[in-house]
C-alpha cells in the first residue's frame, strides 16, 4: 500500500519532468523553425546585388542598400544622443543624487518608461519632433525618437556597470587626494566602461530592429537616393522588410526573408561584439 503510493508519486514526477522538458523544447523548436524558414526562403535571394541595390518593382532586382545605410545612420544619431544623456543620467543617479524624492522619482520614472509600448514613443516623436519642432519626416526626427525609446535601457545598464565598481577602488582614489569628478572620470568610468559598452551595444541592437515608432514618425517605405544629411528622407531595414512581407506575391516573401537574414546577421555581430567586450575587458572584483 505504502510503496504503491510512493511508486505513483515517483511516476508522476517522471511524467511531469518530461512535460516540463517538452515545454522548454517547444520554445526552442519555434526558434529553430524560425531560423530554418528565414534561411530556406531568403538564401537564394541573398547575393551581392541584393545588398547593394535600391528597391525595385521586380523581386529579382530589389535590394536593401538604402535600408542598411539608413539603419546605420539612424543608429549613429541614436548612439550620440542616447549615450551622452544615458551615461550622464546614470552617473548622476549612482554617484551624485542625494537620497531624496527627486532622485527616487527619476528612478521610478525610468522604470515606467521602459514599459511604455514603442509605438507610443512614435506618437511622441510625431507631435514633438515632426510637427512642433518642424523637423518633418526626416532622419533626425527618427533618430531622436529612437534615442528616447532606448534611453531607459542605456541608463539602467550603465547604472549596473557603475554599481559594480567596488567602493575600495573609489576610496583609494579619494585617499590619493582626487576630487569627486576626477575619481569619476579617471577611476570609475574606465572601470565600468566594458559594462557600459556592452549595455549600449545591446540597446542599439534593440533599436535597429524596431519598426513601429519609425513608421509613425514617417520613415519612407521606398527611397531611391541615399540619405546624405540629418535632414534627409530615409528608410531602415525593418521597414523595407515589413513592406516586402505585406505584398501578396510569394516572391516578395523571399525578398523579405533575404532582408531578415541581413538584419539577423547584423544583430548577431553586435551581440557577439558585446559578449566579446564583456569577456575580454570585464574585471571581476
Amino acid at each position: 500500500m505504502e510503496s504503491k503510493n510512493l511508486n505513483g508519486r515517483v511516476l508522476k514526477n517522471r511524467v511531469m519532468k518530461t512535460l516540463f522538458f517538452s515545454a522548454t523544447v517547444i520554445a526552442l523548436v519555434f526558434l529553430v523553425l524560425l531560423f530554418y524558414r528565414v534561411l530556406s526562403q531568403g538564401w537564394g535571394y541573398l547575393n551581392w546585388n541584393y545588398i547593394t541595390s535600391f528597391p525595385a518593382p521586380y523581386p529579382e532586382e530589389a535590394g536593401i542598400w538604402p535600408g542598411m545605410i539608413g539603419s546605420l545612420m539612424l543608429m549613429g544619431v541614436v548612439a550620440v544622443v542616447a549615450v551622452t544623456i544615458g551615461i550622464s543620467t546614470a552617473i548622476y543617479l549612482e554617484e551624485y543624487s542625494p537620497k531624496n524624492k527627486l532622485a527616487d522619482f527619476i528612478r521610478v520614472n525610468i522604470q515606467n518608461l521602459a514599459g511604455v509600448p514603442s509605438i507610443v514613443f512614435g506618437l511622441l516623436g510625431l507631435t514633438f519632433f515632426v510637427y512642433l519642432f518642424g523637423i518633418g519626416y526626416r532622419l533626425l526626427a527618427g533618430g531622436l525618437t529612437m534615442a528616447l525609446l532606448i534611453l531607459p535601457v542605456v541608463v539602467v545598464s550603465s547604472q549596473e556597470a557603475l554599481r559594480s565598481v567596488p567602493t575600495e577602488v573609489k576610496e583609494a582614489s579619494y585617499g590619493m587626494g582626487a576630487s569627486k569628478w576626477q575619481t569619476i572620470v579617471r577611476v570609475i568610468l574606465p572601470a565600468a566602461l566594458p559594462g557600459i559598452l556592452t549595455g549600449i551595444i545591446l540597446s542599439l541592437s534593440r533599436g535597429i530592429g524596431e519598426t513601429a515608432p519609425l513608421i509613425i514618425v514617417g520613415a519612407a517605405t521606398a527611397i531611391y537616393t541615399l540619405p546624405d544629411s540629418l535632414l534627409s528622407k530615409y528608410t531602415v531595414m525593418p521597414i523595407q522588410i515589413y513592406k516586402w512581407t505585406a505584398r501578396p506575391q510569394e516572391e516578395w516573401q523571399f525578398v523579405a526573408a533575404a532582408g531578415i537574414i541581413v538584419l539577423l546577421i547584423i544583430l548577431l555581430l553586435m551581440n557577439a561584439i558585446a559578449v566579446w567586450i564583456r569577456n575580454k575587458y570585464q574585471t571581476r572584483y
Binding site: 508519486r9 515517483v10 508522476k12 514526477n13 511531469m16 519532468k17 516540463f20 517538452s22 515545454a23 522548454t24 520554445a27 526552442l28 523553425l33 524560425l34 524558414r37 528565414v38 526562403q41 551622452t84 544623456i85 550622464s88 543620467t89 548622476y92 551624485y96 527619476i106 520614472n109 525610468i110 522604470q111 515606467n112 518608461l113 514599459g115 511604455v116 509600448p117 514603442s118 509605438i119 512614435g122 506618437l123 511622441l124 510625431l126 507631435t127 528616447l148 534611453l151 531607459p152 541608463v155 576630487s179 535597429i208 530592429g209 524596431e210 519598426t211 513601429a212 509613425i216 525593418p238 522588410i241 515589413y242 512581407t245 505585406a246 516573401q253 526573408a257 538584419l263 544583430l267 551581440n271
Partner: protein, 315 residues
C-alpha cells in the same frame, strides 16, 4: 615654503607655481560644483520624456473629443474612422483577443520551462538553454510578423479549413512565443531566489522533485511569477508589428480567433502609413487610441510592480 629654494628668482617661481596651482584648484572646484547640475539636467530628460508623452497624448486627445463624444468613442461598436464612425470597442476587443491567445500560449510554456530550468535542469544545461531561450526575446518583431504570416498561418490553414489569411490566432500564437522568454526568465529568477533550505526541508520529509516544485518553490515564488506574467501581458498589449502583419486590418468585435481583427496598435500603424494630415480627425484619433493603449499597459505595469512589492516573501 620659500625656504625650499636657494635663490630669489627660484622663490618667485615656486610662488607663481603655488599661485597657479591654487587658481587651478579654484577653477576645478567651481567646475566640480557645476557638474552635478549638468548631470541633473540630462537626468531630467527622462522626466521630460514622460511629461512629453502625457502632454502629446492628452492635448491631441482633447482635440479629438471636441469633435467626437467621449461616450460614443468608448461605447460605440463600429470603428470605421474614414467614414466617421469612432467606436473604439472593436479595437479594444481585437487587442484583448490577441492578448488572451498570447497568454494561453506563453504562460504554460513559460512557466513549465521555468520550473524545468530552475528545479530539474543541471547547472550546465541551464547555462546553455537559458541564453538560447533569451534569443527569442531579441528577435525583431517584424521578423516574427513575417514568420506568423508566411509559416504559422499556412500551417493553421491546413489544420482549420477555411481560415482566412489574416486571423487573430496566428498573430496571437506568435505574440505568445515572443513573450515566452519574458515569462520563463523572470519566473525562473523568482524561483531561484527561493532559498535552498526550504527545498531541502521538503526533501527531508520525503517529497519528490515535483512536490517540492509545486508545493514549496512555486508558492514561495508566486508573487514574482505573477508579476512576470502581468508584465508579459502588458508587452503583448503593446505589441505592434506581429499583429499588423498577421492579424489584418479589419476592426471586428469578436472573440472568434479564426477571424481577422485589428488591434489598437495596428490601427495606429495603418492610419500613420496613409496620408494623415496634421490636425485632421484621423490624426487626432491616433492619439485617442494611443492614450487608451497607454492606460492599459500602464495599469498592467503598475499592477506588476505592486504585486512584486506587496506580496514579496523575504527570506
Amino acid at each position: 615654503m620659500s625656504r625650499v629654494s636657494t635663490t630669489s628668482s627660484q622663490t618667485v617661481d615656486v610662488r607663481s607655481l603655488l599661485e597657479n596651482k591654487r587658481s587651478k584648484k579654484l577653477k576645478m572646484r567651481k567646475l566640480e560644483n557645476i557638474i552635478p547640475y549638468l548631470l541633473l539636467l540630462s537626468a531630467l530628460v527622462s522626466i521630460l520624456t514622460t511629461a512629453g508623452i502625457l502632454f502629446t497624448l492628452l492635448r491631441e486627445t482633447f482635440g479629438f473629443f471636441s469633435e467626437v463624444s467621449f461616450v460614443e468613442f468608448y461605447t460605440g461598436t463600429n470603428w470605421s474612422p474614414w467614414s466617421g464612425e469612432f467606436g473604439v470597442l472593436p479595437l479594444i476587443g481585437g487587442t484583448l483577443l490577441i492578448t488572451v491567445i498570447a497568454t494561453l500560449v506563453a504562460v504554460p510554456l513559460g512557466l513549465m520551462s521555468a520550473i524545468f530550468l530552475s528545479e530539474y535542469a543541471s547547472e550546465r544545461v541551464r547555462k546553455v538553454i537559458k541564453p538560447i531561450l533569451e534569443i527569442l526575446a531579441g528577435i525583431p518583431t517584424v521578423v516574427y510578423g513575417y514568420f506568423a504570416l508566411t509559416f504559422i498561418t499556412p500551417i493553421l490553414q491546413a489544420i482549420i479549413p477555411g481560415l482566412s489569411i489574416f486571423n487573430a490566432l496566428s498573430g496571437g500564437i506568435v505574440v505568445g512565443v515572443m513573450i515566452v522568454p519574458m515569462v520563463a526568465s523572470l519566473s525562473e529568477d523568482a524561483m531561484n531566489a527561493v532559498p535552498n533550505s526550504l527545498r531541502e526541508g521538503a526533501y527531508a520529509l520525503g517529497a519528490t522533485r515535483l512536490e517540492v516544485a509545486m508545493k514549496v518553490v512555486v508558492p514561495a515564488a508566486l508573487s514574482g511569477i505573477i508579476a512576470a506574467i502581468v508584465l508579459a501581458i502588458s508587452r503583448a498589449i503593446g505589441e505592434t508589428m506581429i499583429v499588423t502583419i498577421a492579424a489584418g486590418a479589419t476592426p471586428n468585435l469578436t472573440m472568434n480567433p479564426a477571424e481577422s481583427v485589428q488591434t489598437m496598435t495596428a490601427f495606429i500603424v495603418q492610419a500613420a502609413t496613409g496620408d494623415t494630415t496634421y490636425g485632421s480627425i484621423i490624426y487626432y484619433s491616433l492619439y485617442a487610441v494611443g492614450i487608451t493603449l497607454f492606460v492599459f499597459t500602464m495599469l498592467m505595469n503598475l499592477l506588476s510592480q505592486y504585486i512584486s512589492r506587496k506580496f514579496r516573501e523575504e527570506y
